[in-house]
């Protein structure tokens, strides 16, 4: 639970509270009570009260910190920071190699384009989401603490926005940091600035799409169960199994049967290949899947499905929180 921004003041209400009717000296209580037994001289809070937005922001920041184990025990920092390091290490190595080799004139491009980085290291992202998304939502469900949040001027929608936003931002940080490392490496290596800046910005947009799609699906799955372990298993099953199924099907249909159009359409069915297809169509990236989206119309369908997945998973999440813990 986040720190409350202020303390609840003792506000005596006339006639309420146990003290009003049971005063020991036999006072009738008919006179308007000017003070009550609880008032022991502390000053009440008369300052400005932070409203709905501030509570939602506090919840967002708290959950974003929680994604990386900040403000939690040392043990819960190990996994997120370990995965963060695993995610950034290849970028760091590639950037260093690029800088060294560029000085000797042996290299004029990064070994891996920015837009493919997230797809190549998708296992890391999948584990990060599986481990951290249930941590954000399942404890409130398990210990039934949601009514405590809702007793404040916080709406159910705000709660859902704060939770989903925190997970999406956490994943975006995980995906964007190695891109920044690669970009800085490219700048130091004095690769063409304009071209690299454009690619880098487009890859950041792609990372944002990845973050929205993946976190939307993951938070929705995690919000369905109060058991953290089951949430972890369910998320990773969806992410890993869809990837494995799609890549196996694309391999068979595309390469063995030679039907690249059908293989392209199969890419719709896994989050990673879906967003990868949007990158190929909208940003002109090179496809990481066995087959990219079929033609321009296909790319547009990929973009529409991506938007539908983001909007749909969020709408379902809001619906889920409208019913839960009333």
């Amino acid at each position: 639970m986040p720190e409350q921004p202020d303390h609840e003041p003792v506000q005596p209400e006339p006639g309420a509270g146990p003290a009003a009717g049971s005063a020991p000296d036999g006072a009738t209580g008919s006179a308007a009570p000017s003070g009550v037994i609880h008032d022991i001289g502390y000053r009440g809070y008369n300052g400005p009260r932070l409203g709905r937005g501030a509570i939602a922001r506090a919840l967002f920041v708290h959950n974003l910190r929680g994604m990386y184990g900040l403000g939690r025990s040392g043990r819960s920092k190990v996994l997120p920071f370990g995965l963060f390091a695993v995610m950034c290490m290849p970028a760091l190595i590639m950037a260093a190699i690029a800088v060294v080799l560029a000085q000797q004139g042996l290299m004029s491009q990064l070994p891996v384009p920015y837009s493919r980085y997230a797809v190549i290291l998708q296992a890391v992202t999948a584990i990060f989401l599986a481990a951290q998304a249930p941590q954000v939502v399942s404890l409130d469900l398990r210990y039934k603490t949601i009514p405590l949040y809702l007793s404040r001027p916080l709406e159910r929608v705000d709660y859902a926005v704060a939770k989903a936003g925190a997970v999406a931002t956490g994943v975006f940080i995980l995906l964007a940091t190695p891109l920044v490392v690669l970009y800085v490496g490219a700048l130091i290596a004095e690769f063409p600035v304009g071209e690299h800046t454009a690619d880098f910005v487009l890859a950041l947009l792609g990372a944002a799409l990845f973050a929205l799609v993946l976190s939307g699906v993951s938070v929705l799955i995690a919000s369905l169960t109060p058991r953290r372990g089951f949430g972890i298993a369910a998320i990773v099953t969806v992410l890993a199994l869809s990837t494995a199924v799609v890549s196996a099907l694309q391999g068979i249909v595309g390469h063995a049967e030679g039907n690249m159009t059908a293989a392209g359409w199969i890419g719709l069915f896994s989050p990673f290949t879906l967003v990868d297809g949007v990158q190929v169509w909208a940003f002109g990236a090179s496809s990481s899947a066995a087959a990219g989206p079929p033609g321009n119309g296909g790319g547009a369908v990929f973009a529409l499905v991506t938007l539908a997945v983001i909007a749909g998973s969020f709408a379902l999440l809001v619906r889920r929180y409208e019913k839960v813990a009333t």
Binding site: S73, I127, A131, I232, A233, A244, E257
Partner: protein
């Protein structure tokens, strides 16, 4: 050997409620994909072998092993109800064996049978292939159940560690680093498949003898270790 009451309770806990639906629909998915591939793409035996290797052995078996292996005991340890089982005059080794039996039966039902069905659908003309994949899947299912059951007893974060193992070790390291293949359950299973089927659709990287010996050693040793750990378990609440 087994305690019927513990078996019944474990089966109820593992498959009660929505879990049965989730696990069942995932296994149906594999069969449905096999049907779709057969109808629309007309796959041959080599494609079928590739598909089963990537989807069933690369992903389905490790993940189901993770869910089922930790599921038979992890949730009881999590919510503390394991105390009521441990307080009974039942040997801890019997508890472990009972839970393991449930896990293995569940693995066979939800992962091995769909694999065999998918193989029969896609390569019905060569029933040897389905038999080989079935044999490999049974071995992998048992070994995964034992590994993840032990993991669930050793640590409360079994699912996360298991995940890093299943995705990191089995999928990445086991596929690329030659030396690590000797210690990859997936490669043991592939070695057994390679030995049973004779047409060479699957190439194994590990010797059959090594695979069998290591599988048996892991099953025996880890079951014994799980019993020991459960006997010496301290009940504490972390975090």
């Amino acid at each position: 050997m087994l305690n019927p009451t513990i078996v019944r309770l474990t089966a109820h806990g593992l498959l009660g409620g929505r879990r049965l639906l989730v696990l069942g629909s995932l296994s149906l998915l594999i069969v449905a994909l096999a049907v779709l591939l057969q109808v629309f793409a007309g796959v041959n035996e080599a494609d079928a072998a590739d598909f089963l290797q990537g989807v069933s052995f690369g992903t389905l078996l490790p993940l189901f092993g993770l869910i089922i292996g930790t599921g038979v005991i992890g949730s009881e340890i999590d919510d503390g109800s394991i105390v009521y089982v441990l307080a009974k005059p039942v040997s801890r080794a019997v508890i472990v064996r009972s839970k393991l039996a449930v896990a293995v039966v569940a693995m066979v039902l939800f992962a091995v049978v769909p694999t065999i069905l998918a193989a029969l659908i896609m390569a019905g003309n060569t029933p040897g292939l389905a038999m080989a994949f079935g044999a490999g899947a049974v071995v992998a299912g048992i070994v995964y159940s034992v590994i993840f059951l032990l993991l669930a007893i050793v640590t409360r974060h079994a699912v996360i560690f298991g995940l890093v193992y299943a995705l990191g070790w089995e999928s990445l390291v086991g596929s690329f680093v030659p030396g690590a293949r000797e210690l990859s359950v997936q490669q043991w299973a592939l070695s057994i498949i390679d030995a049973v089927e004779t047409d060479g659709f699957v190439t194994a990287h590990v010797d059959l003898g090594v695979a069998i010996v290591l599988s048996v050693v892991v099953i025996g040793l880890f079951t014994w270790l799980a019993g020991r750990r459960l006997a010496a378990m301290t009940l504490s609440t972390e975090e």
